[in-house]
Amino acid sequence: MSDLSPLDTPLSDWMNQSDLPLASTESRPARGVSPRLRIDLPDPTVGPLLKAQAVYKSYRKSSLEIPVLKGIDLEVRLGEFMAIVGQSGCGKSTLLHLLGTLDAPDQGEIHFESNRIDNLPNAGRELLRNKYFGMIFQFYHLLPELTTLENVLVPMMIAEDGIGYWRRRSQHRRRAIELLDLVGLAHRQKHKPRELSGGEMQRTAIARALMAQPRVLLADEPTGNLDKATGEEIIAILRRLNKEQKLTIVMVTHDAQIAAQADRTVALVEGRVQDGAVR
């Protein structure tokens, strides 16, 4: 994580802007002392990269309230490859969405690099999702109208306005092609998602997730829709990213074999972290 793009503002800088209503500033160290985001090695003063603290979440179906997460405490350390396992409906995807600010907890807090992020205003959450978190999903979720290359470029298109993007388009393209090359799809740039296999689509999704050089990759059942061999290829790519680029990965899976390849596994049972299941 050495080559940072000019867009890559440190999150704490952005969060310190006074006009943004932040929920809590007390827990953050004073400015100047604040640990910056541009660090490559784990720093003991930083603490966990991503932290869930007593998180509760329930869904409402008509008048019925269904509790999904019942007090989750979880820490994701910088540079680790962590798997969250559990049966369908145990709340692992919900937890991942909460970590990725796609949703907000009913109770409890989510912290990212010691900053509370669950109560950020929309603009802040959007920025986090765009630049700091990369996400991949079970069903790949590529945009069918765009080519593979364009799909990879989407995070940059979102990050920059039309003119800015146009000015740096060759730079972005170069990086997108590098990423496609990294996942072995350089030859498929011009293809639409419907012309790709499941594995290729997931690899495109990984390239897209890496485009904005995120701090953490959140993967929701990345192999859930793939056959065993292809699934393993995907895990191998994630593994390699984690090893070579020190990319922090949080992966949700229901497959114990896949989970076994992570550094650490957290099991969720009925909305709680199972005692003793943390490896």
């Binding site: 969405h97 999702r129 999903f137 590529l142 989407v154 995070p155 298109m157 979102i158 990050a159």
Partner: protein, 499 residues
Amino acid sequence: MYKYLLGWRYLRTRYIALASIISVMLGVATMIVVNAVMTGFTREMQDRIHGILSDIVFEARSLDGRPNAKARMAEINEIAGEYIVGMTPTVHLPAMLGFTVNGQYIPKQVNLIGIDEKTYASVSNFGKYLQHPENREKLNFKLKESGYDVIDSQASGSSQVKPRLQMKNAGWKWRRHNARNAWPKLVVPEDQLKANPFYNPETAEVGSDFDPATEQHPGCVAGIGLFDYLGEDGSKLFLTLPGDDVDLTYPSSGRPVRMLSAKFTVTDFYESKMREYDTGFVFVPLRTLQELRGMIDPTTGEAYFNTIRIRLKPEVDLEMVRDKLRAAFPPHLYVINTWRDKQGALLAAVQMETAVLNVLLFLIIAVAGFGILAIFFMIVVEKTRDIGVLKSLGASSRGVMAIFLGYGLSLGLMGAGVGVIIGLLFVRYIDQLADGLGRLTGQPVFDPSIYFFHSIPTVVEAVTVVSIVLGAILIAILASILPARRAARLHPVEALRYE
């Protein structure tokens, strides 16, 4: 950036959206065509009314008229001379026109107008509606030898113009022909007269030897509608031609009012294509009418008038000049109106018609708007997951909304753009289209013998076109607001889970 790219791709891949473009397009094209025709029609009508009425009509209330037109005109000049181009005194009367066809006497109720042939052209476009080229150039009330228009001079090369073959014979030629075929004059031999015990050569009335083959009565220009009828083939035929004599019966000046009658020779037809005028007006020389009615003061020789027609410089505010004149002349003696005041009801009716048509037609575009609304809702539902993906990648609600608003804007722009082109082309070739349609259906779409225009009058006003286009675009945007808001409000997690 993604907004433009996705908007563009949606535009290219969702052909269903073209359906809404087509309805916007049709609405815009129809509005342009209808407005062009309505405006053209209104202008044409106004031109014709204006051509007859001149800008301002200064009327004396009395049938006897008022003395000294020159002095009145000088006064008018003093008040508003700077705005005035020309003035002419006229005499306006209710009258009856009668003529004989095949032994039948046909009466018509008309407005008899005495005009000064030297100055009348300076206040109205009267001349251009006449049938003889010389009269169009410079009016006089003398019958011409021949040369009256067989093909309507106001028609511009439309294939539907039918020649008026009777006009070929009109003029002196026709008059001589009639005189030859008339009943011979009854001449009583002198010896028979002498045998009459009451005959007194000194008191015997000797008729003037009026020879209709070489002489004419005072000339009159009559509205063409007084004499015309349609032949079986749709061509125009006439009961009376220039060269025939007619009787005019009108009220005398002075008390008690008596009905006077005089013979006039029709020297030309007047055809403004406004049926109301063409069937209602007969023009005669001012001086002749004044003499016949006794409007000339025998002691001073001063002629009475009852109307002064005034033409103003272009772009002068008619109402302003009218109000100035109204303030200066006693209202119990004079009525002062602009040509618009005189045709207020007709013009207002046409204006109202245009407004109602526009409202109805705009509803077509509004319907197109609902089409866009429905199609966009469909697209938003179809794209729910993609919207979730965009949001998970950090796209803002505003950005997502912009995709669909931009999409609606492009549909509106495209629909309106194509609509403008089609509409303008339609207007440009409207006569050919009407002709073609007429041939196709065997029923003339635009029958000049009914409408009295040979080509469909059209006027395209830039302001109208721009407002139609803006209206269409606005509707397209308004229709995309609801779906766009729905898209923007989608919760990312729910959108991602959407099946």
